[in-house]
Symmetry: C2
C-alpha cells in the first residue's frame, strides 16, 4: 500500500530520524548532558523541527523514554511464553532479557536517566502501565503453571521475581565500567558474558524451584 515515493519532505521520516538521534544522545550523555543542537545535526534535521514536533527538550525525552519501554515490553510479548512449559518459559524470559540488554545498551542508560529525574517523565503513561501489567500477568502465569505441575514452590511474588530477573542482568551491564576497575575483569568478554548468564539462570532457578 505504502508508496515508495522518494519525498524531499516527509514529516514521519524526519520525526523518526529526530527520535533515533535523541535516543542515542540521551543514552550517551543523559538528559542534562545531551545537546539539542547535536540531536538536530545527527538527525539531519533542523533544531526548529525538534521544537515543532516535540515542543521541548524534556518532552522529546519523554517520548524517547516511553518508546524505549514499549519496545522491550512488546518484544517480551512476542516470546509467547504461554506455549512453553514453566521452566523453559522462565529460562527463555531470562535469556531474552539478558540479550535485549546486550543488544540495546541505550535502554539501560535511558532508564537510569529517567530515575535520576525521579521518574517525572513517565508519570501518567497509561500505555506503559498496561504493557507492564501484561508482563506481570505473564510471569504470574508461568509461576502458577509451575506450582500446579509441582516444579515451582508456591507463594512467590511475580513482581519481586520480575525485579530480580531484571536486576541481575541490568546491574552487571550498567556497572560494567566501574566493575571492570573494581574487580579487575573484562565484563564484556565473551566468556565473562556467558558465565554471567549461566550464573543468573542458576540464581533464578534455585529461587523458584521447590
Amino acid at each position: 500500500m505504502a508508496k515508495p515515493k522518494p519525498r524531499t519532505r516527509d514529516a514521519d521520516a524526519t520525526k523518526s530520524r529526530i527520535l533515533a538521534a535523541a535516543k542515542s544522545e540521551f543514552a550517551r550523555l543523559g538528559l542534562g548532558g545531551a545537546r539539542v543542537d547535536e540531536i538536530a545535526e545527527k538527525a539531519r534535521a533542523n533544531k526548529r523541527m525538534i521544537y515543532h514536533y516535540f515542543g521541548s527538550k524534556e518532552d522529546l525525552f519523554r517520548v524517547v523514554l516511553e518508546e524505549a519501554y514499549l519496545d522491550i515490553r512488546n518484544a517480551e510479548q512476542g516470546l509467547e511464553l504461554d506455549h512453553l512449559p514453566p521452566v523453559e518459559a522462565l529460562e527463555t524470559l531470562l535469556r531474552f532479557t539478558w540479550q535485549y540488554y546486550l543488544d540495546n545498551p541505550e535502554f539501560i542508560t535511558l532508564v537510569n536517566s529517567a530515575n535520576l529525574h525521579r521518574g517525572r517523565h513517565l508519570e501518567g503513561s497509561e500505555r506503559l502501565q498496561m504493557a507492564s501489567r501484561r508482563l506481570v500477568r505473564m510471569v504470574q502465569d508461568i509461576l502458577d503453571r509451575g506450582v500446579e505441575s509441582g516444579v515451582f514452590r508456591a507463594g512467590i511474588d511475580a513482581v519481586q521475581l520480575n525485579i530480580t530477573i531484571a536486576a541481575i542482568g541490568y546491574y552487571y551491564l550498567t556497572n560494567r565500567f566501574t566493575g571492570a576497575i573494581l574487580f579487575e575483569r573484562d565484563f564484556m568478554e565473551d566468556a565473562a558474558l556467558q558465565q554471567r548468564l549461566a550464573f543468573n539462570i542458576d540464581t533464578i532457578m534455585r529461587l523458584v524451584t521447590v
Copy 2:
C-alpha cells in the same frame, strides 16, 4: 591533639564543605546537570576555591566518587565478618549492603553517573582496587568456610556473588521511580522495603546453600 580553635579561615573545613556539597549536587543532577556555582553556594565557599583545591569540575567529581567508594568499602570491613559463622556472615553482609544503600542514596546515583561516563573518572585508582580486593577476599573467605562446614556448595565465584548481592538491592532502589509507575506500587513503603530485603536474603541463601 587537634586544637578546637575557631578559625575564620580553615582550608580543611572549606575543602570538606565543598566535597559534601559536590557529592550532594552530583548525586542529585549527575555530572552534566550539576552546576559549579551551585556547589560553591551550598558549600558556603567561593567558586574560585573549588578550582583552587580541585582543579576542575571533572577532577572534583573524581574525588567525590573515590571517597564514596572508599566509604562503603571501609564500612564493610568494619563488620568483621570473619568472626561470624558463614551463614550469619553472609546475611549480615546482605543486610548491611541493603541498609547502606538506603542510608546513602547518593552512593547509587554517583555510581550511575560514573558508569554513564564509562568509568573514566575512576581509572587507575590504586586505593579503590586495594579496597575491592579486600572485599572479594572477605566474601571468598565466607564461602570457603561455608563449604568446609558443609552449609554452602562448592564452586561459587566470589565476584559473581558480590555482584549479585549488590544487584538485587541496588536495582530495586535505583529504579524505584520508574518501578513505582510500572508496577503501581510504593517501593519505599516500610512494608515493601522489608518484603524486598526478605526476598533478597532468600534469593542469596538459596543460591549458596547446598
